[in-house]
Symmetry: C2
Subunit: 254 residues, 2 copies
């Protein structure tokens, strides 16, 4: 679809794009999915353009499916970036010269200096289920630990910051975890997820007590084999109750 | 500026607009500011286009100042509306015919059927300070009680609904009132504001206890003359403490 860029652009909104901060949770760390642009060491968030005949949400879902292989990803719009100096492609000469090595001289002509507003989404996905897939502009798609994220193209570092803030806000008002954890998990794993997102430590008993009070968890008759902690019981979310709690909201305050 | 529409549009983004839900509080009710389109009985939210050389936030501030006469209004972006069927002007023939009576035949030609994404803002203002001012497209600008809002143009009813939801969310996590109440107010007036926004009743003592625990209010040595309630003392927000609490967040849960 993107092979003929002009043809593709003719079918999209030109002044509006979207970008997705895709959060995963792995080995006690929050990860984000980044793309490396062809022929460069420059990284950016996954994103793209909205087709004239699809809504912004549909576009975000389409792009997320293309980059992760997943359908029905948890996706939330959190902020729209409308600064004056935002462009579809970064107007700095150096970057353009690098990109033209790959894409050919003059490839970006005519579309480079168009100001663009970008709708920011964040997605919560199960790390192990994702098949990171680059797009037509990029060579590589892979997970980065949040702490190691390099200087990104455009305003994408600011986007990740704001996405994290929105995720934290959500964590204080809604149950979280259904989209980020595997089906079965231990209480310490769930606690570690909350601690990682909110960047705080919680008391083990109080955490368990509060989470159980939401009435969204089911303790299974299974234990984590070989676990190095004191609560090796496995839990899972009761989907209907979890979804009801999402709609109603809960207060996570410890 | 807007007298030559084509000239004005040449200086703006064309696929992105913004719309503002301006909340005021008066006589125990939430109000919103609406505009009546020239020569019609059709109402819409205040809104407009983003100049190429201003950010979305600057545009929202500019438009708000034009419609209210106020500077430095509390303004929060809450959602971007990106459905497929959004247009700068409503593509329904009937409305266009009405508008063409005022604006002249063919006036909207060429710009009518452009799909547009709109960034939604809500504003909190002090009712008595606002001087409602129509724009070039409208004859009238006035407050409506939230309960009486008619069927609006475009998707503006949905916008108000979402704005209210965002305001409620904010009220649960942040102090509220500084922008909506006059400088001095009674505790029952503040309680009524919270009750109106959240559409619930609160116990008088518990409400006062919780609000005082935020340490953002100062009780004055003045009483409301002629007040028909039991707590006629006047209060005001201590600005620096209020602002610190806004940054840090508070939990309003009763």
């Amino acid at each position: 679809m993107e092979h003929n860029l002009k043809e593709f652009f003719d079918k999209t909104l030109k002044e509006v794009s979207l970008d997705c901060t895709v959060f995963g949770f792995h080995e006690g760390e929050l990860k984000v999915l980044l793309l490396r642009w062809k022929g460069t060491d420059e990284w950016s968030l996954p994103g793209g353009h909205i087709l004239l005949d699809e809504s912004a949400d549909d576009a975000a879902n389409r792009i997320l499916t293309q980059r992760t292989g997943l359908n029905d990803v948890y996706l939330q719009q959190f902020y729209t970036f409308g600064n004056v100096n935002r462009y579809v492609y970064h107007p700095e000469k150096e970057l353009l010269q690098k990109l033209e090595v790959t894409f050919g001289k003059g490839f970006f002509e005519g579309i480079i200096f168009r100001r663009v507003v970008s709708i920011g989404y964040f997605a919560l996905v199960e790390f192990a289920q994702v098949q990171p897939t680059p797009d037509w502009f990029t060579d590589e798609c892979r997970w980065w630990s949040l702490a190691d994220v390099p200087n990104l193209l455009f305003d994408h570092n600011e986007m990740i910051e704001r996405a994290l803030k929105a995720l934290r806000q959500r964590t204080r008002n809604h149950p979280i975890g259904y989209n980020l954890l595997p089906e079965k998990f231990t209480m310490p794993e769930l606690q570690r997820l909350y601690e990682t997102i909110l960047d705080r430590q919680f008391d083990r008993r109080n955490f368990q007590k509060l989470l159980m009070s939401y009435d969204i968890l089911e303790r299974l008759d299974e234990k984590r084999v070989g676990a190095a902690n004191k609560s090796p019981y496995l839990y899972r979310f009761v989907k209907e109750k979890y979804e009801a709690a999402v709609l109603e909201g809960v207060s996570f305050s410890m």
